[in-house]
Symmetry: C2
Subunit: 249 residues, 2 copies
């Protein structure tokens, strides 16, 4: 049974303000809920349909938080999915340690990527390519935004992220920074890239001038047609694919 | 001045049924409207703000169709953009000739890609890589859907597309078909690909079994992490990038 207060609380988590205040966010849909339950995130509350319950009895028996049942209609009212006949989880945000590049061959840095769908897609791409550390400028979209979580398709459970001033990060760690620009080195022809950071810019403004100064190598995706640009998530995917190929890992 | 009938007509073009009946679709936003005006599409009507008019006097003087002015609020009411202080164009659909692979090194085929945002993004990627012919299965999203047009960022003016039964197309033209699968040949290691077709499958089902039989080479994007899959537009971008690199074009 869902109390009025529970409904009100979960709905408040649609807003960044209340997510920040409570230190909680929500995850919806069967796949993502199952992934968060298997991750090191702490799930505080699960709202599930009877159908979900009968599909996953062991998982629910092992669950130590608050377990509530609801109808599909109630779930859809609580979350943002048009259709959800499975589950919604209320999860505690993580306290990430400060950023440390130790042990990583490729780190992804985002300079003010504002669209939650782009951020989520980029997190999924990072997870595909085994990139586990992402550094975001403070103005980048909020990781715990429901649209970000949804677009990661569960990959949000497998990356570490850090909101930090990127200038400070690059200065402190003296990392080689590969910046995505139009007019840089053709990524198909890049020779022996070293471990470092791939930096992607804002959807409309690209990489800011202050950060451009920190870029040690500009890289470009070769174009063969007339499109002026590529979406930032698309460009991130292509560049990650090339770096992984060139690094032979 | 916008008459009630004009408003009603443009709004009807939000629906596929009325687009098909009238053979018209609409394009909104400054960049896309300017691109369609410079293309070989026939623009029947332009609705513009005074601001757009004063920014592009020559273009409007050269325009031979019906020219109407409107406020920003009226434009936003007519179209799907949350914000549009520029223009909206009503455009005639093209009658494409039947598909012919002549002269193309890489053709893109989509098997039931249903999401308009994915289709539009894929068209933009094709344009970036100079792929000018796209063949869509009949169940693929409609090219003239406003969300498709919007996501192409103007690239819809520079590609040719064909809705055809893909089995028939592959049989008729005896083309090498590279199909995107999990568990195919690592695209980083593919040797000397020939001219042919890159086939991408549906968002959830992938390539249908009937078409799988026509695939001459399965290709896969190597993964290094734990994400189970990539979005179809992302995968298309990565594969196109690899094919263009491998074909040395």
């Amino acid at each position: 049974m869902l109390s009025k207060n529970t409904v009100k609380f979960i709905k408040s988590l649609h807003q960044k303000k209340y997510r920040s205040e409570s230190g909680k966010f929500f995850v919806e849909g069967e796949k993502s809920v199952l992934e968060v339950l298997q991750s090191d995130f702490l799930v505080e509350m699960l709202v599930v349909t009877e159908a979900f319950e009968s599909r996953h009895p062991e998982i629910l028996r092992a669950f130590r938080g608050q377990l509530l049942t609801a109808t599909q209609g109630q779930l859809e009212d609580l979350g943002q999915f048009q259709s959800n006949d499975a589950a919604l989880a209320v999860v505690e945000m993580k306290n990430n340690a400060p950023f440390d590049p130790e042990g990583e061959s490729l780190i992804l840095a985002l300079d003010d990527v504002r669209d939650p769908g782009n951020l989520g897609t980029i997190v999924r791409i990072a997870d595909w390519y085994g990139i586990t550390k992402l550094v975001f400028s403070p103005q980048t979209a909020e990781f715990y935004n429901p649209k970000v979580i949804q677009s990661t398709m569960g990959s949000f459970t497998r990356v570490q992220f850090f909101y930090e001033d990127l200038t400070t990060v690059f200065d402190r760690w003296k990392l080689p920074v590969y910046g995505a620009f139009l007019g840089g080195e053709n990524i198909h022809q890049l020779q022996n890239p070293t471990s470092g950071v791939l930096l992607m810019g804002n959807e409309s403004k690209g990489i800011s001038p202050v950060l451009e100064e920190k870029v040690t190598q500009k890289v470009t995706i070769p174009g063969f047609g007339k499109a002026e640009s590529l979406n930032v998530a698309i460009a991130t995917a292509i560049l990650c694919d090339n770096f992984k190929r060139l690094m032979g890992s």
